[in-house]
Symmetry: C2
Subunit: 215 residues, 2 copies
């Protein structure tokens, strides 16, 4: 079945498979839920094979990853390690290919992170946006897609951390160093800064876990 090809009508399918139209409809709803078909009403309507769009797959991947992490109690350390390992894979590509647009986004998010009175949640939002710009800088949509799951799904875990001003200063410093390195096209330093950010984030995570355990 090729993209945009039309499936037989519900009545025809019901007849063909010797089931009722209700049953056919439930099956079609299943396919629709998986974004495999779209339905259209009217005379020339019906169910059509759908092209899986990048944006939909991206959103779905994030949802699934987030659910997977939260429902299976993946620990902070494992998720964090995976996230930064993958991001570091992007660093050399991103330092070679990042556009002024990516750099501008990163600078803007750093500026936002430094604003006083920013809630922890907003700080995390901005953090995700910063790292997404870093990943997108590699200019490889497949990479961006695969990493979306790791970066965005970490956000609920990151939200458990309380970011003190001191914490934020350290993170902002490393973010600045990463942005600088990418601007200078210095992949090695970007990688080094990401490595530091990894260990620092792991430390923060451990502290948050301990604080949570004491409560």
């Amino acid at each position: 079945m090729n993209v945009d090809e039309r499936l037989p009508s519900e009545a025809e399918l019901a007849d063909q498979f010797q089931v009722s139209r209700s049953t056919v409809r439930e099956a079609l709803k299943r396919l629709a839920a998986q974004n495999l078909i779209r339905t259209q009403r009217g005379a020339t309507g019906g169910a059509f094979v759908r092209r899986l769009s990048y944006d939909e797959a991206y959103a779905q991947h994030i949802t699934t990853s987030t659910l997977l992490l939260s429902m299976n109690a993946v620990d902070f350390q494992t998720a964090c390690e995976a996230r930064f390992a993958l991001e570091r894979a992007c660093a050399p590509l991103s330092s070679a290919r990042r556009t002024p647009d990516h750099l501008a986004t990163m600078r803007a998010e750093i500026h936002r992170q430094a604003q006083p009175g920013l809630s922890d949640e907003r700080f995390c939002d901005s953090d995700v946006a910063f790292h997404r710009a870093l990943v997108d800088g590699a200019g490889n949509p497949v990479l961006s897609y695969q990493l979306a799951g790791a970066v965005e799904a970490m956000q609920p875990l990151m939200n458990m951390i309380t970011f003190t001003q001191r914490n934020r200063d350290v993170i902002i410093g490393l973010h600045t160093r990463i942005a600088d390195a990418l601007e200078m096209q210095n992949g090695a330093d970007a990688d080094a800064a990401l490595a530091e950010l990894t260990t620092y984030t792991l430390t923060l995570g451990e502290e948050a876990m301990e604080a949570r355990a004491r409560r």
Copy 2:
């Protein structure tokens, strides 16, 4: 809603939302298709919130990634670059943590790849199995999950390549070098070998594309 919590019965939902039971059922089928609920028949039956299992999410991620690559005509170079960049992110972790089991799997697949008369398709299967062992060696399920999409979804693209004996010898040599490096816990050399494998695979891909264009 927590895991294993029960939703109201179809009749209750229909009553609550003032729609017919058919409509409720179609909606429930949608949720079931997304693996969000499971239904159970009988007296104490109903729809229950489902824990998203790692294996299901893994399988779904591969399916979606494969569809995304094939339906959106992602070029070989982009997919290949993403795949190897991500794999290289695993190399240091895998060289530190790989178990004898992972090494044995890699050796076995290398042996299989050297067998004469192996079809191109089987060679690709084995290649994927080898790289999966490499990734799993990092001992991070989140990493394995995220990489599954990149590694497995590449397979259809890899299957377009015709592997001559000479090609295979080069790849097997690099695979052996990777396995040796992991065994010696030499992350740097594993990374270097993966880098070589990246450029070599890209070359093969380009040749295959040219051959296909000439036809």
